[in-house]
Structures are given as structure tokens and as C-alpha cells.
């Protein structure tokens, strides 16, 4: 569903991502981890078509993102760490707007069921300024899910959420994956990865350090020890520093 081949991203002389290749199949949740400045956000933004990669290819559902960006973007949804909403659009108007952009014909019923699922139906006529941080996050999620994307990118999905919100976000990600979506999420929270991700990709200084299922990664860095936490694995994989 997501095929990345030799992806690179440069900013002038600085290379943020170097020769990155991996795939994510339907139903898989890939956790993108790495120290600060490892290139996680650049990777995620390149995959979502927000910034053009400097090299390599990204295929979403078999469609080349660079060659056919419009068709590829119909299949994906990007969830930023901070919910970016329009101040003057109510909750329902946000969904109406997104439906028009993506051409979702039967959006009214879909929107209603999403609002109910995310427990913001009673806020449908309120503006973002009247919503709590968690409610805004839910609205951003509802907007992202309205066109039933098959590929989802989450950037630090738990930022600013309360414990209940964190629990629900985890459940939501897992449910979408079970329904066949391919998901990539970037986070510093390793416990989130352990609970949600089926696969992990560790980046350092823009390069892939390790990639595989959680079990494979554990086997690679545990060196025969048992009960080694993901945190310990992460530290071993990255050498315990950003450089």
C-alpha cells in the first residue's frame, strides 16, 4: 500500500533523509522513531505529499505520488501533531468542506456516524474556538477519516491528549489498521509504539538503522537477552545519542 524507494530529502547542503526504502502493507502500523533531527518529520511530510522529496519514489496504493499527486492523495490522510482547523467553520462545516474537496458524495450520513463515533456530535454547530484541545483533535481526525483513506500518516498523534484521549486514539489507530488501512506514525513515545505498531523503522541522521516487525527488531538488538524493553532497544540502536 505504501512503497518507498530510495527516498531522500535535502535542504541545501543538509541531507535530512538519505536513501530510505520500505513498504507498509494493508493492516500494518509502522512506527517511525528516532532521536531529534533524525528525519522523521521530513519523511512523514514527504510521504504525505506535503513537501516534494529530493530523490526516490513514493507510491501510495500503487500510484506514484510525484507523477500523479492528485490521484495518490485521494487515498491518504495526514494527521498533524497540532489540529489545524479553520476558525470560522463549525464542526459540521469542516466535514462539509472536506467532503467537497474529496468529492465524498454521501457525506452527510458518513459525517454523522463519524461525529457520533468520536463523540462530538453534540458539538456539530460549534466553532473550533469553542472546543477543547481534545475535541479539536477529534474533529481533525473526523476530517481525515471522512473520505475513508486507505493510507494514514500520524505525526505525534498523542500530543496534548489526556489519558482517555490517548486510549481512544490508540484504539482508533488499531481499528483502522484492522479494517485494512496502512498506517505510518511518528512518535517519541515508545510505549505507544509497543502497544500500537506492528512494525518499527528506526532512523538516525536521516538513515535507516533498523526496520522490521517488533519481534524482528527485538531479536536484532536484544543480543540474546530476554525481556529487553523497546526503550532499551531504541537506545542500543541509536547509540544513545542524537549524533
Amino acid at each position: 500500500m505504501i512503497e518507498v524507494s530510495a527516498l531522500s530529502k535535502r535542504y541545501g547542503d543538509f541531507t535530512a533523509v538519505r536513501d530510505l526504502s520500505f513498504t507498509v502493507q494493508p493492516g500494518e502500523v509502522l512506527g517511525l522513531v528516532g532521536p531529534n533531527g533524525a528525519g522523521k518529520t521530513s519523511t512523514l511530510r514527504s510521504l504525505a505529499g506535503i513537501i516534494p522529496p529530493s530523490g526516490g519514489t513514493v507510491r501510495i496504493g500503487g500510484i506514484d505520488l510525484a507523477a500523479e499527486p492528485v490521484a495518490a492523495k485521494r487515498l491518504l490522510a495526514f494527521f498533524p501533531d497540532e489540529p489545524r482547523l479553520f476558525d470560522y467553520l463549525t464542526v459540521r462545516q469542516h466535514l462539509n468542506f472536506v467532503a467537497r474537496i474529496y468529492g465524498v458524495a454521501d457525506h452527510a450520513a458518513l459525517a454523522q456516524s463519524l461525529l457520533e463515533e468520536l463523540e462530538i456530535a453534540e458539538k456539530a454547530d460549534q466553532l473550533p474556538g469553542e472546543l477543547s484541545r481534545g475535541m479539536k483533535q477529534k474533529l481533525a481526525i473526523a476530517c481525515g477519516l471522512l473520505h475513508s483513506p486507505r493510507v494514514m500518516f500520524f505525526d505525534e498523534p498523542l500530543t496534548g491528549l489526556d489519558p482517555l484521549g490517548i486510549r481512544r486514539m490508540k484504539d482508533s489507530i488499531l481499528r483502522r489498521a484492522r479494517d485494512g488501512a496502512a498506517i505510518v506514525l511518528s512518535s517519541h513515545l515508545l510505549h505507544l509504539l509497543e502497544e500500537v505498531c506492528s512494525h518499527v523503522l528506526i532512523l538516525k541522521k536521516g538513515e535507516k538503522i533498523a526496520h522490521g516487525s517488533l519481534a524482528e527488531i527485538s531479536a536484532q538488538f536484544a543480543h540474546g537477552e530476554t525481556g529487553v524493553s523497546l526503550e532499551e532497544i531504541f537506545i542500543r540502536a541509536t547509540g544513545g545519542s542524537e549524533n
Binding site: 535542504y11 504525505a48 492523495k73 476558525d87 467553520l89 458524495a105 457525506h107 466553532l127 469553542e130
Partner: protein, 592 residues
Amino acid sequence: MLGALLYLRLTSLKNLLLSRLRRLRQPKYLLGAAVGAAYFYFIFSRPFGGSGRPSISSGSATAASFTLLSAELLPLLSVFGAFALVLIALFTWLVPSEKPGLTFSEAEVAFLFPAPISRRRLIHFRLLGAQLHILLSAIFFTLLSRGWSFLGGHVLTHIVGWWLVLTVVNLHFTGAALTLNRIFDAGISVWRRRLVILGGLAVLVVAAAIPIWQNAPAFPTGNFGPGAFFSAIARTIDTGLLSWLLYPGKLLLAPFLAADIRTFFFALGPAALLLAVHYFWVLRLEVSFEEASVAHAEKRAARVGRFQAGDYRLGSAPVKARREPFPLRVPGRPELAFLWKNLLGTRALFHWRVWAGCAVAIMIGVPWIIRAGGEAPFAAIIATVAAVFAIYTLLLGPQLARQDLRSDLPNSDILKTYPLTGWQILLGQLLTPIAILTGLLWLSLLAVMLALAPRAETVSWLTPGFRLTAGLCAAAVIPALCTLQLLIPNAAALLFPAWFQSTRTRGGGIELMGQRLIFVIGQLFVILISLLPVVLSCALVIFASQWLIGPTAAVVLATLLALAILAAKIAVGLWWLGERFEKLDLATELRP
């Protein structure tokens, strides 16, 4: 303790100045500072009236009339200035600011409120803090008014004069806000307070109106100049009870209006007394200002946070949900979704019903005014005002109507994930300001056409058919012109995002003002260059073809040519900027 508070103020000021100087190392700020300084030099060095400072000693006719004007003008300035101060004071009580009487920053609240500092010292700290702004404002206004040679006086007396006025007004604001806080604390509601103040105001108005009505000075008849007209108004205002109300204002303005040092020192005493009264009023008000100050500091911090996150709305009023401008049906052109979205973000004023109402009002009102008021002067005034408004709207409107990509740049990450090409997003974003500017220009055009209609009928070749065709042709070109105009600032935002974002910072000094000026001048320059070939081509077509096909058809032909050229430019611009938008990474561009 005051020493510590003074240290805080002076050190903060020093560091602010240093940081401003340091950022001049960046070319964009240095260039901005140079342009801003040049602008101020031009403004401050320009004499009043624009064409040379009149000199009384020159003995010319101009100088003589200027002296005469000065003698008449000074009392008028005193009355009108005092009247303005009365209005400001009334407004302060009727519509109080959301700000508490004494405003503190979040850091000041965190550090000073829990500190062992008395309330009185906090008030002094705040009042002293305001003095810096007041002093700078006094110098600024003095520089602005230095060309008013008819005032007499000296630059120092003017600075002191402005300082007195601004300080007393500031103290009055503070005192009024604190007094109103006290009234609130006493449990009196906003509406009861307004009722009491409005009642008092009504009594004042009636009491002031009766002597004015009884002793109304006759207005001059026949041909009279503005001086006689304003003198009559001043005499009317300065009568009975109102003259007593104006008295403190006149005392306060007297040092500024003093023609010489002796008069200045005589005027200084009463004005200083007024200042002292205000100062003790504020100081003796036993009001708990802390809670309101904390709430305001939090609000301000939230606003700054919003601003840094890319939300540039200046108002603090809560946003309210609005009625949809039109039903957004799915499926349909996605660009229209942006028009729908951005119209929702504009004021309720920009609704098609309002536009239609304005058009009907113009169609009924303009011919009626011209008929009722005598054709020539009113027609000329209406046509001139409408034409000037149209020119300003076309030239400066794109800097003001920003409901496009410029407002949505912080959301560019989300916009770019939409299954749309860059040019589609850009076009969709431009539709709202295009609609607003087009509406304003169409209304202006309508007013000009109606105002000039009686005069045009006297010109043989300006037949009704030709006028209608020319008007429709102009109306057809307007949306394209607006689109081209709006492409320029959006291009600036996409091509120089770091520059563009820095100009959106509030305040910021001379360098930011210079940067904004560069954008405005750049916009005017680019649009002139863009329109030159269009205008020349159209002129050539009309000149060459009117002999063959007549003026009406020639205008239509030229309009079609203009539309074709403009459409081509817009298409290329949209495509190119769309590509640029797709490649834009705002986070990288804004990296210091």
C-alpha cells in the same frame, strides 16, 4: 523597590533595542529599516500644505493670508480639540475597553504580584511604564506637527504639550476603567451602568442643546470660506453648558497651542493641575485590579500564542458561527469550497444580499441626490468620490482583503494533502477577495456611471448605448484585474515567505514598517508593468478599429483583447504559483 522595577523596565528596553539592532544584520530588516527611515524622513521633513513652508517674514500675499488664518485658527483648534477630548472621555465611560485599568504582562503577573510590593507601587510601576510610550508618542506627534508653522511655539513646548495631553488622557482611561471596575464590584450590571451613563448623557445633551438653540449664531450666507463655516460651528459648540464641559480640555491643550514661551508657562500651571488631579484620582482609587489584570494577561498571552501559530486576527472578540454564504453541494468544483470557506470567515457584510441592497440604494439614491441638489456640484462630487474609492480599492484593496492563501499559509500542510493541484488551491483561495473587490468596484462603477449620466447626455457621441456598452465592458474587465492584483501579494507570500511572515508581526519598529512599504510599492510597480501592455494594446485597437466598426464595437473588441491578455497572464501566474505552492515547505523557509 521602585529601583528594582525601574531596573526591570530599563533593562528590558535596552535588550529590546539591542535585539532590534542585532536583527538589522539580516538584509531584509536592514533594507526595511532603510526604507522606513526614508519614509519618516520624507514625512517629517515635509512642510504643512506640501508646497514649501510659508514664511511670515517673506511679506508675500501667502504669508499675509497665513497669518490671518493662524489668528482665526488657533481658537478653533482649541474648541475642536477640547470637543474631541470630551467625546473621548464620554466614549471611555460609555464603551469601556476590555482591558483592565492597569495591564500587566504574564511575566509581570508571575513575578510582581506574589512579590512583597504594595499595590500603590504596582500602580506607579504601571504608570511609569506607560510613560515611555507616551513620551515616544509625544515626540512622534511633534515631528508630525512640526510643519504646522501657524501654531507658533517651540519644538520643546510642543513635546511637553503633547506629553501633557497624552498623559492626562492615559490617566483618564486608567481612572475610568478602575472606577468602572469598582462599580462592577459593587454588583451593578453593565446595562444598569450604561443606562445611568446614557441618562446622564441625555441630560447633558439637553442642557447643552437648549442654550445652543436659543443663542445659535447665524451661519454666514452666500459664498463663504471654510474658515467662516468652522468659526460658526465653533461658536455654536462653545455655548452654555457645553462651554463649561470644554473648559478642562481647553486648559489641557493650552500649552501645546501656546504661541510663545511666556504664554506656554502661563498655560502650564492649569494643565499640570489637571494632571495632578487625575494622578491622585487614580492613586486613591481603592480597587482590586489584580484579578482583571491576570485575566487580561492570560488573554494577551493566548493572543500572542495564536499570532505565533499563524492566526493574525487582531480582535479579541470571540468568533461566532455564521450563516453559510451559499449551500455547498457535493459533488462540485472543489475551488468553490474555498470560496465558501473563506466567505464564512469574512464579515456578514460580504453577503450577496448586502451587495444587492447597496446596488439598489445607489441606483435610487444617486439620481435622486443629483436631481434634488442641483446637477453639477453633486454629480461631480459623487463621481469623484466613487472614482477615488475605486482606484484605492483596486490599488490597495489586495493588501487589505487577505482572505486567501496569505491567511491560510499556516494551514499549508493540510491544504497540500488535499487531492488538488497547486493552481486549484490557489485559485480557490483567491476567489473570496476577488469577489469582495469586484463587488466594491462594480458598485463604484455604477455610482460613477449614474453620476455622470446627466453630463454625458450633453456630449453627442456618448450615446446611451455606448455608455452602457462601455460600462459593461469595464465591469467585465474588473474581475480579471482584481485577480491579477491579488496574484501579486500571494506571489510575494509564496516567493518570499520569510519576508512575508516577518511583515505580519505586530508592531516591530521602523524596519518592519519599511518591509511593509516595500511590499506595497512592489505591488504597485508590478501591476503597472503588467497592465502597460494591456492598456497600450487596447488603445491601439480602439484607435485603429473605431473608424471601421464604430466606437461601441471598438470598445467591445478592445475589451475582448484585454480579457484575453489578462486571462493568459492569470493562467500563467496561477500555474506557476501553484507549482511553487506545491514545492513550498514553510517550515524550512521560516528557519532562521
